[in-house]
Symmetry: C2
Subunit: 565 residues, 2 copies
Amino acid sequence: MKLPRLSRAAFERHLPILTWSRSYDRDTLTSDAVAAVIVTIMLIPQSLAYAIFGTSRALAVGPVAVVSLMTAAAVGNLGLQSPAEYAAAAITLAFISGVLLTLMGVLRLGFLANFLSHPVIAGFITASGVLIATSQLKHIFGISAHGHALPEIIASLLASQHLTNPITLFIGLSTVGFLFWVRKGLKPLLLALGLKPRLADILAKAGPVAAVAITTLAVWVFDLENKGVAIVGEVPMGLPPLTAPSLNPELWGQLFMSAVLISIIGFVESVSVAQTLAAKKRQRITPDQELVGLGTSNIAAAMTGGYPVTGGFARSVVNFDAGAETPAAGAFTAIGILLAALLLTPLLYFLPKATLAATIIVAVLSLVDFSILKRAWGYSVVDFAAVAATIVLTLGVGVEMGVSAGVVLSVGLFLYKTSRPHVAEVGLVPGTQHFRNILRHEVLTDPFIVSLRIDESLYFANARFLEDYVYNRIACEEPIRHVILMCSAVNEIDMSALESLEAINSRLQDLGISLHLSEVKGPVMDRLQRSHFLDELSGKVFLSQYEAMRSLSTSPHIDRASAAH
Amino acid sequence: MKLPRLSRAAFERHLPILTWSRSYDRDTLTSDAVAAVIVTIMLIPQSLAYAIFGTSRALAVGPVAVVSLMTAAAVGNLGLQSPAEYAAAAITLAFISGVLLTLMGVLRLGFLANFLSHPVIAGFITASGVLIATSQLKHIFGISAHGHALPEIIASLLASQHLTNPITLFIGLSTVGFLFWVRKGLKPLLLALGLKPRLADILAKAGPVAAVAITTLAVWVFDLENKGVAIVGEVPMGLPPLTAPSLNPELWGQLFMSAVLISIIGFVESVSVAQTLAAKKRQRITPDQELVGLGTSNIAAAMTGGYPVTGGFARSVVNFDAGAETPAAGAFTAIGILLAALLLTPLLYFLPKATLAATIIVAVLSLVDFSILKRAWGYSVVDFAAVAATIVLTLGVGVEMGVSAGVVLSVGLFLYKTSRPHVAEVGLVPGTQHFRNILRHEVLTDPFIVSLRIDESLYFANARFLEDYVYNRIACEEPIRHVILMCSAVNEIDMSALESLEAINSRLQDLGISLHLSEVKGPVMDRLQRSHFLDELSGKVFLSQYEAMRSLSTSPHIDRASAAH
């Protein structure tokens, strides 16, 4: 194998840092550093929460809500007992996911993410938000519960043997209330008090930090730990240890499908937000290169005790709003979180779990948006079916089933539609050379000619449908002499459809009817020329439907229409 | 629920016998009876062979080669020991398959069969023929072997501890040679001897009966049984017993996926041959009604000790060639086979297994046709990939894997193609109102207008592709003012694609470029009108691309072209 000589351009494509680092100056540095400080402040409570509940300390990379939930579901299904086994499985999941993402990037499989439709993604995120919020309720009530789907979680909440601790409930509910108020009411208040918009914005976004500080202080001052309020307790301090993923083939087998789903969901979330933000600045991203970036991040996470990570909506938007200009802002954030992990963890000993749960609930409920159901219903039944199935199955059975069902259903319904294509019988719009559906427009036709516009590529799933359609159409009393298939919407004729066309041609010929094609596209024509079909065709192939009608019609209408023009 | 009043027409649709029995006369009876005699003669050896090797006596219904192979593979995978368990599993398989087929018919799921493309079916039948022929070699050589895929069967033939029995080998090879000669050489010889074509045809087709008679006689006369020639021995005589399928849920679980595949393959084989033959007589079949017919046949098979059955290519063609006019011919054949089962089985005691194997080998080798590989290669790489994968995996791994891989691959490649659609930049063909690809035709364009014809429905899998394509196209030095998306090939715009169109519209608007649509089809337009997109669209929706160009272009070329017309 000859190694390709890597040009400077190729290097820059695969190592994007080479591009932006050359123009990195003092101003850009300031912007990035400010963004890093803001994101660090934002991330401390949420990241710590995931780190604590996920038994992982990989704060420097991005654990996000939905992927955390999927990780918990995947690892929870294994029926492991000890936290160490749990952590080892999560690390292995991150590693498999990292390898898969990197491979997908190298093999340029980024297009696979396109099979998750927008409605399925929206439904999945909404349902996941509800699931995550529900699963945190136990910390607000100070009771125990478990499960990965709504019926299970609710049943286990209701069946809990513990009594609700009133102080825990008070902390949880007041934090939830405070955080919602911070979101909606604090910024307008600060602006009314005369603060500058930028500063008001930063203060409003730092609300969770205030909640963490106040409730932690309250626990310490009033000794609430001994009054039944669950606290975070000892948080491992310092740098993350180097870890190695398990290479146990059985564990890999159990985790593989979960890793595939987590990789694709994480990738879609990343690419969606990256594209949205890139578009705002007229920049472009390369999905396959993003895959490699995410893959290596996950491998790095696995090496430092982390679980699967991805680029999250919330943190990326904060980073962008805070003024980040290059990926260096991410590195600065990492340094900030590192310092927090080294220095701040002892301060979090008295942090109530109810506060963390409240932070998570408020964060994920902002992702919940059931209006997608209404919009999909108004637009198309198929889109509605995909969203509804995704939401119902995610809530009722679990995240993996929900997203898989959404994909399978949307692909299945697409295939079903293409297997029964719309076929329009067309006629000439008077005064033009344009042909439209005879049922929708006032058009001119010829009693001896049937013009059928087939609104789909012809392939195996609809080859038989086409035969049936044509045979049914000609089974009438009219003295049909010509059938013209208008192929303006036929983007492909595969071998099965070719055989059907041959069958139609020979059957029509037996009945004394000629078969013609019109408006056959270049790539389709290229392929037909490689078969014997064009030699056997009883009629002709016309450049346009208009030319076909002019040449075949004996009706004075058609000629008059064209002459009038 | 209100019960629908069944009209006479509905009765006839669901009980087709009502239609043809009314016009049943003496001539039709004669034709059907002659066909029945011929098919009975044809079927005795082959049906007996399947009955013996499949440990089933359901001769009255149609066991066919490929479905027999799939049944053997499915039941063989269960690791059963006794022939009784084997038979019970086969009966249960027939029952599940019957229920599935009937349900599919009632639910009008006949269209599912369309997802098996012609090349996949052809590849599957060819590979199955090779597998069946190879699996019969052990009887020709008089050794033992097993397995459901080629490597396994060949390895087990080579590893056989038995020595080849020379007499068995002689019987086997000479029967194979004789049967091939009968197929190719006997009919011309009989015609040369002055026989009438119809009689020569019947005699030539009765060749297997002669082979069975001669070899059976030879074994009896020369006492070959005691010289190591394996014979059929005791064949259960008389009417089939009434049997009941097992209702063991575990067995149902193990057999379910096999039953699904067998049902679909059997149905496709049935419908293909039925459609081909119906077309020859200008008749039509109703696939959903065929499903019910096949389903009840399978349930009947399960009730009488049979295994999964279907309408086979070979027997149906024989039936048709022999002059059958109505399904009554099938009933007469059933009576013929019943009489054979009652009276002829003792005569078959000395029939060598090698003769049966030779009959099967010659019959299935006529199904083997590797030329499909060459034809697919010449026509399209995608079709070739589907055939090649089907053949290689059927031979190498087994029938179920082969056909599943063929379906998954052809559907997957279709989806892949639609996710990266062909987009043509189009211009006006001079002297017409027709627009074609600027790279293939001499066309007129306007430097301020980009006209893109999108050759695919817009749906979730290609929504992002469209955005990328449009953004890349406008990222140039040209002073573009209008982008027209020509939607003649867009048969569907789903919600994901709608969101992409909204994104394109707003991005183009920011750049001072208007977005227009042309030739939007009725059903697509209906849907767009239910969204806000048309209100937000910066440009217009034109009936035709020509109208769009006439209205937007300032180029004198375009006006001159239309004026010249």
